[in-house]
């Protein structure tokens, strides 16, 4: 159950996407999200979908592996869809008692769903194809300008990297502690919300104790290996832009530019609007 979460995991294989500079991928995600939220017509979404699947194809990560990550956000997804569905004013399509679903609501809900799914899949691709160390290196270097404002970018990057490394270990530990408490007759399923929350105490307390113990051990091990903050460190794998990264930026900017232009192009919007007005409404 807990192990189904794929967000933040790394999928080991060889691919162009894996070799791409993390800065390209991070900026790519950011631009992809901006593009997603700027689309006004179905063509934009279609382009987004095509682009995403092309990227997935290039990454050689099985699609199934990525869609598995969506399970974790099903509830958020449903809520957004429902809110959009029922709370968007416009022409009524169906009325169930006091609740009305409008055509505009349908369109908004569908759009939002596609956006969220693409967003999650798009960002999973980055973590799946980038080792956390590489990812934090990318963030460290990409956000390096913040050092001017006294932000300890290096230390924060190290913290992130460690947090990511310990996620699978702590998940496994949670699983083990839950099983151990089940064996002592604990019950995590029955009862109301308050009772359920209470039943987690025997899991959370040992989990926190263990996390603190690990943190202490790890801090000691890091000091023993001469870690003393970000200054004066060299890199085993320094980030150097290669030809393919320039190519990556080129494709990225072209895609974002073209898709935003087409996705917001009023001629196309007007065309779909007239289709909608002429055929669906009549």
């Amino acid at each position: 159950m807990i192990r189904d979460i794929t967000i933040g995991q790394y999928y080991q294989t060889e691919s162009v996407m894996h070799r791409l500079d993390p800065r390209v991928k991070l900026l790519g995600t950011l631009l992809f999200i901006i593009a997603l939220f700027s689309y006004k017509n179905p063509l934009g979404y279609a382009l987004g979908i095509v682009f995403l699947f092309a990227v997935i194809k290039l990454s050689r990560v099985p699609v199934k592996f990525i869609t598995k990550g969506l399970k974790g956000i099903v509830i958020i997804l449903l809520m957004t869809v429902l809110i959009n569905l029922f709370l968007t004013p416009g022409t009524t399509a169906v009325a169930i008692g006091k609740l009305t679903i409008t055509y505009e609501g349908l369109a908004a809900a569908l759009g939002m769903m596609i956006r969220l799914i693409l967003l999650i899949m798009g960002s999973s691709i980055v973590t799946l194809t980038t080792t956390p160390n590489n990812l934090t290196d990318g963030l460290e270097k990409g956000l390096g300008f913040l050092k001017v404002f006294k932000v300890p970018v290096g230390d924060v990057a190290m913290m992130m990297s460690i947090a990511l490394r310990f996620i699978p270990i702590l998940l496994e530990e949670t699983d083990r502690i839950m099983k151990a408490q089940l064996a002592r007759g604990a019950d995590f399923e029955s009862g109301n919300l308050v009772k359920k929350a209470k039943s987690l105490v025997p899991v959370l307390v040992p989990l926190f104790v263990s996390a603190f113990r690990r943190a202490g051990d790890l801090a000691m091990a890091m000091e023993a290996r001469c870690y003393r903050g970000g200054d004066g460190r060299t890199k085993m794998k320094p980030l150097v832009y290669k030809k393919r990264d320039a190519f990556g930026y080129l494709i990225l900017f072209s895609f974002v530019g073209i898709s935003i232009f087409l996705g917001r192009w009023h001629v196309i919007s007007d065309f779909f609007n007239s289709l909608y007005v002429n055929y669906i409404l009549k």
Binding site: A183, A186, D187, V205, P206
Partner: protein, 284 residues
């Protein structure tokens, strides 16, 4: 009321490219009152096996019967099973969560629906059985030594008054004396209250001296299921499985090859010395 495993198989990651067969058609009968050692190296399936005995996992195929009932039946209460079959995980002290030792030991029996009085009696009884120092009953678990924490955790399972007690590597991380103290304590439990003990371990030496039956797991299968003496006589096969046979037995075996008539089934250093000495004297 024996525990019966009937052709159990367990496959992990069945839907991926690398399915792992953790258990492969395992059948075992565990009658009440036995002291059993389950041995195998990491990944042999022994940990999966014991989780099945506690209903913490559903087998991919096969059935587990307790008291004549299929434990995966809808009308069978897993809680009832767990009351009768206590399971102590590896490093059990990592599950302690209450403010003091006594409260933590009460957690199990309370969950099993015992009254307050029954719960407290059971907790006291369990702490006494594991020889937990009396002046520390109300101490915070953070004040205890490693060995004491482990005893407290074992008491937490024992307090549910199980008929079967499964212990997964109960001596992991302890020093030699701590190891023997825990094993002696477990053997004492078996002797005094007749409770069935299943000791899961990767160390032959740990179990050899105590158990009456050894189940050796290898690649998800039961490789041997017999008395320790009989099992250790298959030293070559055991070594191929990455299991070291106890050194005393290894030495007497080599001596036999060299024509000294010692006993190949010795389990402890003292037994080995006795047998070697007797063999040498006989020749003179």
């Amino acid at each position: 009321m024996p525990l019966i495993l009937d052709h159990i198989s367990q496959i992990y990651n069945a839907d991926t490219e690398h399915p792992v067969k953790a258990l492969d058609d395992v059948s075992l009968v565990i009658p009440e009152g036995q002291f059993i050692g389950v041995i195998g190296h990491t990944g042999s399936g022994k940990s999966t096996l014991m989780q099945h005995l506690n209903g913490l996992m559903k087998p991919t195929s096969g059935k587990i019967f307790f008291n004549g009932q299929d434990i995966d039946d809808k009308d069978f209460s897993k809680k009832e099973l767990r009351k009768h079959v206590g399971l102590v995980f590896q490093y059990p002290e990592h599950q302690l969560f209450e403010t003091d030792v006594f409260a933590d030991v009460c957690f199990g029996p309370k969950n099993m629906g015992m009254s307050k009085k029954e719960t407290e009696l059971a907790a006291f009884d369990a702490l006494r059985k594991v020889a937990f120092p009396e002046d520390l009953y109300y101490a915070s678990v953070f004040e205890l030594s490693g060995g004491q924490k482990r005893r407290a955790a074992i008491a937490g399972v024992l307090a549910m008054k199980p008929d079967f007690l499964i212990l997964d590597e109960p001596t992991a991380g302890l020093d030699p004396v701590g190891r023997y103290e825990i094993l002696d304590m477990v053997a004492g439990l078996h002797k005094e209250s007749g409770i069935t003990i299943i000791l899961v371990s990767h160390s032959m030496e740990d179990v050899a001296m105590y158990v009456e039956r050894v189940v050796v797991m290898d690649h998800g299968k039961v490789a041997f299921d017999d008395t320790p003496r009989e099992v250790f006589s298959h030293s070559n096969e055991l070594e191929e499985m990455g299991l070291a046979i106890p050194e005393p037995s290894k030495i007497t075996r080599k001596l036999i090859e060299l024509g000294i008539d010692a006993d190949p089934g010795v389990l402890t250093a003292t037994e080995a010395a006795d047998s070697i000495y007797a063999a040498l004297m006989k020749n003179k």
